[in-house]
């Protein structure tokens, strides 16, 4: 009887331990993902630091795709802000390592495909004249992929709108096209329910900002 009780206690505490760890994880992730729509996050130093923090969480957990995903997201945004473009490719290599790990934990994930599209766009900025063709196609392909995995993901249309807005018209960009995509993104945002409070939910304020730009 005593043995049974101890065994029961032991299993019980194991389960609680897992939950406790998960509480620590939820805690850290909630804190780290809370300010992803705040403009103060988007400075090179903040992005680097947050990327590092997500990487630490990712490497400690190893079975969660979200911290790898966020680490890559921070790194790609940091990439867009780099002044010395020669640093960009190694940084994107690192982001892609994180995305690969995220994808192995969560295959066919629309959110991961969105970040892959951003990585391709970032690589394009190093040398648009010669890289445009290859990485432009890659960025579009990843968004297409993202749409196949989950057409309800608002960030697909946000990125599409962003790309249409910032591509010069003679290269296929279009303000009116951007407006349509961004408005669609907003309706998708309104309907979008993140799986948890740490699942990707960023982008709505940025979409509004882009839409304002596209509308004037």
């Amino acid at each position: 009887m005593k043995r049974l009780f101890l065994a029961f206690l032991f299993t019980g505490s194991m389960a609680t331990a897992a939950m406790a760890q998960s509480a620590q994880y939820m805690d850290a992730m909630t804190k780290q993902t809370a300010d992803l729509d705040s403009s103060s996050t988007f400075t090179p130093d903040h992005l680097l630091e947050k990327g590092n923090t997500f990487e630490r969480i990712a490497n400690a957990e190893q079975s969660q795709w979200l911290p790898y995903y966020y680490a890559a997201y921070m790194q790609v945004m940091q990439g867009f802000m780099l002044k010395d473009k020669s640093q960009l490719d190694p940084l994107m290599d690192r982001a892609e390592v994180n995305l690969d790990k995220a994808e192995s934990l969560s295959p066919k994930n629309s959110e991961i495909a969105c970040i892959r599209s951003l990585v391709a766009t970032a690589r394009l900025t190093v040398d648009p004249m010669t890289r445009g063709q290859m990485y432009g196609a890659e960025a579009a392909k990843q968004l297409q992929q993202a749409k196949e995995y989950n057409p309800e993901n608002p960030r697909i249309y946000m990125l599409q709108g962003q790309s249409l807005l910032f591509t010069p018209e003679q290269w296929g960009g279009s303000k009116s096209g951007a407006k349509t995509a961004l408005e669609l993104a907003l309706t998708k945002f309104a309907a979008f329910k993140p799986e948890s409070n740490i699942a990707p939910h960023w982008g709505e304020p940025y979409t509004r900002m882009l839409l304002a730009k596209a509308s004037n």
Partner: protein
């Protein structure tokens, strides 16, 4: 649960809660003791860690204690882990090593201009090589704006560092192209046969090239075809001289692609409006087709096929120099077929296999007629057939070093007839080569190799050693040296009539320095080239010719200083003399200019979505032969200096769903007079200037693309 159980539970679940927090501090530097900022420091298995500050220091608290694994990771550096006691409150100092990536590794660069996306730090990108106003989407015309190449625009081919056009070989995916240029008329050079957009990489080597390549005394133009396209697409083009269309299909599994292309060019209507110097009597009319097939046979295997067929006819009448008042006629029909099949695969244990086969056939039927004066028109037929196979194995040693060896076999049939007289020969050519790129350190590499060849028509063997060395000072600058022996068979027109000739030989010595950053490139090279055993035709065919070439070349490219502007400048100084063919002694040959310079300028005007291009080329006069002068004054006269300005403008827009671009380009826009030499009548009393057939060529065209946005291609194609 009882109170006891709750305590037990807390004890089991939160063993660390009761322990004190430890403060961990330290500093991260690189191997040269420079602090590294932004490094991610972590205690393995925990969330605890920090990002290093600008001075490389870090500090954080952790509930972990005792010996822990501390990891440090940073973009561009090798990650590092070390064991440390976090309770000890001693600073932890970490040194990170550079990640040795392609950017930092030295590459063999003496003599070669590589345009490729594969490697960073290349001088030009594939698109740049065709970015030359006035080059008209011709690879060789664009390469003529690079140092080392001459502006010999009255004959086809690349004339490099005192070498003739014959001394340059063109290779596609490692396989030789026997007739890389379309058929030409006297004094009118033929264009390159292959579209620049077939290739993802182009290497123009003006000397010192690898033992993989033989039978080129001066230069190798190494073209590497593109891999699978990213999407299916189709295209349509319309211009003042013709139409073209093509389809490229990528299969659903994205492992196979195939495509066909066809073009039709007819210059007759154009020449009705813009009268050329010589009057067209046939065409010029060109029908071209090509087909390709590519298959990714495995994650590392790639099979590629490319086939090309071209039918050209053209003819011109011109005033006879020999018989004033009479007309001379020259007509040519050319058929050309080229096929190329290559396969690459990794065969395990760091070994790789390359196999290739190609077949080509080229036929020229030439009718010449010097009316009335000759009893009958002359018919010249020239047909060359080449079958080729090549096998190469290579193995990676360590991270960067590689050894290569392989063999090559060529079977060539050269037929020719002059009216009823024929002169044919067959050559079996075999070659073996071995070469190693040995990295002593990531910044110091040596290449040692050799090539042995045997040609049955010459019944002779040769052995050519090749050595290069390159050293990289920092991320941007490197210094290279190269030495090598190069052998080549005499041209078919001499071999046809004399089988006792031997190989011609050139020895290259090259020193080069280059500095490449993201926004600019600087490169300079000095070279000395020694020629031996060149073919002489006087008093009879022999190998007693010789010569030398030496010079200095400078290249500068800047993509940053001026907004929306990319430009490059190249300058070549060449001092060369040779005694060959019918030359009485060593002189500067008629294809060589002492000074050659080019400026290529591109400007993008975003407001009107138009790209402007401008190319200026300059060359000092070339020697020419005046039969009225005494022998000791042979080739002592020089032509006027050469000046050419090419301009182009392109406007981008959308027509329905198709990306469309309108193109206007003008060669020799300022109408500068260009004289490449003189023809003299036999008695020496009359002479004709050799000038371009059309002094200024105006091209207007429109390209539409459905599918992939290839407007950038077309834009760079001007």
């Amino acid at each position: 649960m009882s109170k006891f159980n709750l305590y037990l539970y807390l004890l089991i679940c939160f063993p660390l809660v009761s322990l004190a927090q430890n403060k961990v501090t330290g500093k991260v530097t690189d191997s040269k003791k420079h602090p590294l900022a932004g490094v991610n420091i972590a205690i393995r298995g925990t969330y605890d860690g920090a990002t290093t500050a600008t001075d490389g220091t870090f500090s954080f608290t952790t509930s972990a204690s005792g010996d822990q694994i501390i990891s440090a990771s940073f973009t561009g550096y090798q990650p590092m882990e070390l064991k440390a006691n976090v309770s000890a409150s001693e600073p932890i100092n970490i040194i990170l090593k550079n990640n040795i990536n392609a950017l930092r590794v030295v590459t063999i660069s003496a003599g070669s201009f590589e345009a490729s996306d594969d490697k960073k730090g290349t001088v030009l990108k594939p698109l740049d090589i065709v970015t030359t106003a006035g080059a008209g989407a011709d690879i060789v015309n664009a390469i003529k704006t690079l140092p080392g190449a001459q502006q010999t625009n009255d004959r086809e081919g690349l004339f490099v560092r005192g070498g003739t056009g014959y001394e340059t070989q063109t290779l596609i995916d490692g396989m030789l192209v026997r007739n890389p240029f379309s058929t030409s008329l006297p004094d009118i050079p033929g264009r390159g046969r292959f579209s620049p957009f077939l290739f993802k990489g182009t290497t123009f080597s003006s000397g010192g090239y690898s033992a993989q390549y033989g039978q080129a005394l001066s230069s190798a133009l190494i073209l590497e075809s593109t891999d699978l396209p990213t999407r299916s697409s189709s295209s349509l083009g319309l211009s003042v001289i013709g139409v073209n269309g093509g389809v490229d299909k990528l299969t659903k599994d994205k492992k196979t692609s195939y495509g066909v292309e066809a073009d039709y060019t007819n210059l007759a209507p154009y020449f009705n409006v813009v009268k050329p110097k010589q009057t067209p009597s046939l065409g010029p009319e060109i029908i071209g087709t090509s087909a390709n097939f590519r298959r990714k046979t495995s994650s590392t295997g790639m099979l590629k096929f490319y086939g090309y067929g071209n039918w050209t006819k053209m003819g011109f009448n011109s005033n006879s120099l020999e018989y004033p008042g009479y007309m001379e006629s020259f007509k040519v029909h050319n058929n050309n077929v080229y096929t190329n099949l290559t396969y690459r695969e990794s065969i395990g244990h760091d070994w790789h296999l390359y196999a290739g086969a190609s077949f080509s056939i080229n036929t020229d039927n030439i009718h010449t007629d010097t009316l009335l004066k000759n009893p009958a028109p002359t018919l010249i037929k020239v047909r060359s057939t080449l079958s080729q196979s090549k096998l190469m194995l290579y193995k990676n040693l360590g991270s960067f070093s590689v050894v290569r060896f392989g063999g090559e076999y060529q079977y060539a049939i050269e037929n020719s007839s002059f009216n009823e007289k024929t002169a044919n020969y067959v050559d079996n050519y075999t070659a073996a080569f071995a070469e190693g790129d040995i990295y002593i350190t990531p910044s110091l590499v040596g290449r040692l190799g050799g090539r042995a060849e045997y040609s049955s028509i010459l019944a002779k063997m040769n052995f050519a050693p090749r050595v290069s060395l390159a050293y990289k000072f920092d991320n941007y600058s490197q210094f290279s040296l190269a030495y090598g022996d190069y052998y080549q068979k005499p041209e078919p027109q001499y071999l046809r009539f004399n089988n006792y000739l031997g190989y011609m030989k050139a020895t290259h010595y090259i020193a080069s320095f280059q500095r490449i950053s993201n926004s600019y490139t600087f490169r300079t090279e000095v070279f000395y080239k020694k020629y031996k055993d060149l073919v002489k035709t006087v008093p009879s065919y022999n190998n007693n010719g010789d010569g030398y070439a030496k010079g200095i070349e400078v290249f500068w490219r800047d993509r940053k200083t001026f907004k929306n502007v990319d430009y490059w400048i190249s300058y070549s100084y060449l001092d060369t003399k040779r005694d060959y063919l019918n030359y009485p002694f060593r002189v500067q040959p008629d294809f060589a200019a002492n000074h050659t310079a080019s400026i290529v300028y591109k400007h993008y005007l975003s407001k009107i979505s138009t790209n402007l291009g401008l190319t200026y080329t300059f060359a000092t006069g070339r020697p020419y032969y005046d039969p009225n002068l005494p022998v000791d004054k042979f080739m002592s006269e020089k032509t006027m200096t050469y000046n050419a300005v090419g301009v182009s403008a392109s406007y981008l827009t959308n027509i329905r769903k198709a990306f469309t671009i309108f193109v206007l380009s003008v060669s020799n826009a300022l109408g500068n007079k260009q004289v490449f030499g003189y023809h003299y009548s036999t008695d020496g009393l009359r002479r004709n200037e050799i000038t371009p057939n059309v002094p200024r060529f105006i091209y207007l065209g429109m390209f539409m693309n459905f599918g992939i946005d290839r407007r950038q291609d077309v834009l760079n194609n001007l």
